[in-house]
């Protein structure tokens, strides 16, 4: 199984790395928004994409094109992300290309799912929240990235 794990730098990335044991039987490839973060996953294939957020439409398009091109080359079976915008694009593109996709909403979202998470509900095969009171229907709670 080839797993592509995507997260923006900062808290999203820290949370993604804490899920690593879940991929121990898979071929793991990482994607983030700053090249220097390759140093935190030495020994793994790492792809850098331009960062963007929903406030800048032009950057969003640049990121989307970059994520699309990379996924076409990487050809993962599974895409997993802890957010934010670039991870959501990974989930959408992945789903359209026939990958299985997993969204793990950031632990920072304690009152409601992030906006990206709410969009991801429509595309991801699996949606996790990290707070039991936010679980409902397709949104499941199975513990946190911290323990």
């Amino acid at each position: 199984m080839k797993v592509l794990a995507i997260a923006s730098i900062g808290g999203h990335w820290v949370q993604l790395l804490r899920l690593k044991p879940a991929f121990k039987d898979s071929e793991l490839v990482f994607m983030s928004t700053k090249q220097s973060f390759a140093d935190t996953v030495k020994g793994f294939e790492f792809h850098c994409i331009p960062d963007s957020n929903r406030w800048n439409k032009f950057d969003l398009i640049k990121t989307f094109v970059s994520v699309y091109r990379k996924i076409k080359v990487i050809k993962p079976d599974v895409i997993i992300t802890t957010g934010a915008a670039p991870g959501l694009m990974g989930v959408i593109i992945g789903r359209l290309m026939g990958c299985k996709t997993i969204w793990v909403d950031s632990i920072a979202n304690v009152q409601k799912l992030s906006l990206s998470g709410r969009i991801a509900i429509r595309f991801a095969n699996k949606i996790y929240t990290q707070w039991p009171d936010l679980a409902s229907g397709k949104i499941i709670y199975n513990g946190k990235v911290i323990s």
């Binding site: 199984m1 797993v3 730098i9 900062g10 808290g11 999203h12 990335w13 820290v14 949370q15 804490r18 899920l19 690593k20 044991p21 879940a22 991929f23 121990k24 039987d25 898979s26 220097s36 973060f37 140093d39 935190t40 406030w55 079976d77 599974v78 997993i80 299985k100 997993i102 793990v104 950031s106 632990i107 920072a108 979202n109 304690v110 009152q111 699996k126 996790y128 707070w131 499941i140 199975n142 513990g143 946190k144 990235v145 911290i146 323990s147």
Partner: protein
């Protein structure tokens, strides 16, 4: 040394100014701050712009105390490295963030008693100085990975495909 970090998004001048004032009143306290995009220019503390994760970790591990915005990356790293941490949430009323989620996150982790939270500058200065001088222990220790239940749920799903 106190390591101050504001994350990568927006300026957090309220925090940097407060730490600068602490350094002015207590010159024996060494303060190093990561201040991407700050508008306030402190004169009593050492500042650095964006650091690579390796440089960031070096400062982080040397610090006796971490002071930061309520960003999950910093909070998790501090709990994992057993560093005492004081967080002050970014607030929309000061245009420090676009929404109030840092306040909600800080409150939740405060309730769980994982971290020290300051809700304003006066409280921040008080907690920082008492934590620094009384060598307070971190409130909670994290393991390196997510909860077993989450890891096995994701792992099982992937192997089932």
């Amino acid at each position: 040394m106190i390591f101050v970090t504001i994350g990568t998004q927006e300026p957090f001048d309220r925090l940097i100014k407060a730490m600068d004032e602490i350094a002015e009143s207590f010159p024996e306290v060494e303060i190093i701050a990561q201040i991407a995009k700050s508008n306030y220019h402190p004169s009593n503390i050492k500042t650095l712009d964006f650091m690579t994760p390796i440089e960031f970790n070096e400062h982080f591990s040397k610090a006796k105390l971490i002071v930061s915005h309520a960003g999950m990356g910093t909070i998790i790293s501090a709990l994992q490295q057993e560093k005492p941490i004081v967080v002050i949430p970014r607030l929309t009323k000061f245009k420090e963030h676009r929404n109030e989620h840092q306040l909600a996150t800080a409150k939740k982790f405060d309730e769980l008693n994982y971290i020290h939270v300051a809700y304003d500058i006066t409280e921040l200065k008080k907690i920082v100085l008492s934590t620094y001088y009384h060598n307070l222990k971190p409130l909670y220790k994290l393991g390196p990975y997510a909860a077993d239940s989450l890891i096995s749920s994701i792992g099982t799903y992937i192997t089932s495909l």
